[in-house]
């Protein structure tokens, strides 16, 4: 007769390791990080490589908060202030954290955030410019040299997928160069350099992209193998990381021609690129249905007047203020800073709000002053999710 394995401990409510592994692999990263201190065995389970792989497959990444990076001023010296605004706050308290990257050896400027992994760099000027790729949840990081010429305006984006080996990633360094031909005006191009974590080497790509406009909000968003950057000229610079091909995707233009687009940002939701714009017509959220066909679909739309009516304390006289400020594109009255998973961090005057598109709910996050801003220009904001992923090699 076959023996059936029965763990007698089950009667007492003590579960064996396999069963615990199964349950825990379905728990989100944030509570799991707390559970690491339950016992030594649990700490080992949760830190284990194959557990992390199973957990990544069984759970989806939750937007945990927004990293807010103050941008350099005219003097081309980096500002060291980095803040973090969590999406969930206890009792609606306004919680803003500084020193979030204090575990790194120096002050940094955040460059990219992808699936819980963050890429940052030394603040300029620096005697030894370095790039860091880190996971704040376990305080692990790796570093690589940031080879000169180090341009304070350049963007380094992070391409990171869980599907392959969790510790594999690519960095794409984008610079804007001017090539002068015989005529008076120079022509502007984006160049691309790729770093591969497997080869630990940089390589210049032969691909260049002719574009007269510079990147704004300088951060590349990685979705489904493509990196996207918003440019000043209403185009989205897109780069296929595998094929090393670039293209420019025009932003969606709403039917009314009178529209002056006031402020915009891009972000990922449900695996697709979204474009969020604020204009006199209100807040519009578009989804890129087909990348190569440039096909955008309007997902959500809310009039400024409706914001005024629903949130009179926050948005008194919103529409007029937005229209008045549309002349000054450097500091719009209502400025969408970051969009991810249906949540939008938006700056209105001197306050920050989080708008949940799915629930059609706006909450006050904090005042802009709590971020201790030193520059008047809008900060660069990155979405952040907690993961257990370890960057160290096996």
């Amino acid at each position: 007769m076959k023996m059936i394995k029965v763990d007698n401990n089950e009667n007492e409510g003590c579960l064996n390791t396999d069963v615990i592994f199964d349950i825990l692999s379905r728990v989100l990263a944030k509570p799991l990080l707390s559970m690491k201190c339950i016992s030594r065995e649990w700490h080992n389970i949760i830190s284990n490589r194959s557990f992390i792989k199973a957990q990544l497959q069984n759970t989806k990444l939750d937007l945990n908060g927004f990293i807010v990076q103050d941008r350099y001023m005219i003097s081309k010296r980096d500002i060291k202030t980095v803040s973090y605004i969590p999406v969930e706050s206890k009792n609606g308290a306004k919680v803003v954290h500084q020193m979030v990257f204090g575990f790194l050896p120096e002050d940094v400027v955040v460059l990219a955030s992808c699936k819980g992994i963050v890429c940052c760099r030394s603040c300029l000027p620096s005697p030894n410019p370095t790039i860091y790729v880190c996971n704040p949840s376990n305080r692990e990081w790796i570093q690589l040299k940031w080879s000169p010429p180090c341009d304070i305006t350049e963007s380094i984006a992070l391409a990171f997928d869980f599907d392959f080996e969790p510790s594999k990633f690519k960095l794409v360094r984008v610079k804007c160069i001017e090539l002068n031909n015989n005529e008076d005006e120079g022509d502007f191009f984006f160049t691309f350099e790729l770093y591969c974590s497997e080869t630990k080497a940089w390589r210049k790509s032969t691909e260049i992209c002719n574009c007269k406009d510079d990147m704004i909000k300088n951060r590349g968003i990685y979705i489904g193998g493509f990196l996207h950057w918003l440019t000043e000229g209403d185009q989205i610079l897109t780069f296929d990381v595998e094929k090393e091909m670039s293209l420019l995707i025009p932003v969606p233009v709403p039917p009314a021609n009178e529209l002056r687009i006031v402020a915009a940002c891009i972000g990922e939701y449900e695996g697709r690129l979204h474009y969020v714009q604020v204009s006199e017509q209100g807040l519009h959220v578009w989804c890129l249905e087909d990348l190569f066909e440039f096909k955008w679909i309007l997902k959500d739309c809310k009039l400024l007047e409706n914001f005024e009516v629903e949130y009179p304390r926050f948005f008194f006289n919103l529409k007029n203020r937005v229209l008045e400020s549309s002349e000054d594109t450097t500091n719009p009255w209502m400025n969408p800073l970051c969009f991810k998973d249906g949540k939008l961090l938006i700056k209105v005057s001197a306050e920050l709000y989080i708008y949940d598109m799915k629930k059609d709910k706006m909450v006050h996050a904090c005042s802009f002053l709590q971020l201790k801003p030193q520059s008047m220009s809008h900060p660069t904001v990155f979405p952040f999710s907690l993961t257990l992923v370890s960057l160290k090699d096996a």
């Binding site: 409510g13 003590c14 379905r26 989100l28 201190c37 016992s39």
Partner: protein, 160 residues
């Protein structure tokens, strides 16, 4: 749903006897989903009352209810939500352990996910008690861990 044509399983019921001596009937096709039961049937024959020492009369009816729905293909998200709605955390745990003992894969995965969802908002102390786990960290080690965990910030209050 059409039943299988095989005469040996089409309307055959199996008798199961719980650890506290009660007897329940299930269809043979449902019994197939519980690998432990099926192994016992293979070894003891399907005419004998199958003894299940580690499953009790409180849980077995619920498990049978689940698999009754499963063999007719009627398990939906709504049904699953209803199924666990009135169960407290301990009741779910007992059901889950029973599913584990019975090697009933579908129910096991469903309840495992349900427990994972319930644990997300619970304190460390609660989770320790729930799993019957001893804390074998020293106080110094534990406070160091709490400091490092979950991206600790200046001025943040401890969780409950």
């Amino acid at each position: 749903m059409a039943q299988e044509a095989s005469s040996s399983t089409s309307s055959k019921t199996i008798s199961l006897k719980t650890g506290d001596g009660e007897i329940f009937e299930i269809e043979a096709s449902a019994a197939k989903q519980m690998k432990t039961v099926q192994r016992l049937i293979d070894d003891l024959g399907d005419d004998i009352t199958i003894p299940l020492h580690n499953v009790f009369s409180k849980e077995l009816p619920k498990i049978i209810e689940y698999y009754k729905k499963d063999i007719t293909g009627e398990i939906t998200k709504d049904f699953e939500a209803e199924f666990v709605k009135d169960l407290n955390d301990d009741e779910v745990k007992v059901l889950f352990l029973a599913a584990n003992y019975l090697d009933a894969n579908k129910l096991f995965e469903f309840l495992s996910q349900n427990i994972a969802d319930r644990l997300e908002s619970k304190s460390v102390e609660y989770v320790r008690k729930y799993f019957g786990v001893e804390n074998d960290f020293t106080p110094e080690e534990e406070s160091k861990l709490r400091e490092e965990r979950a991206w600790s910030f200046r001025g943040i209050k401890e969780d409950e």
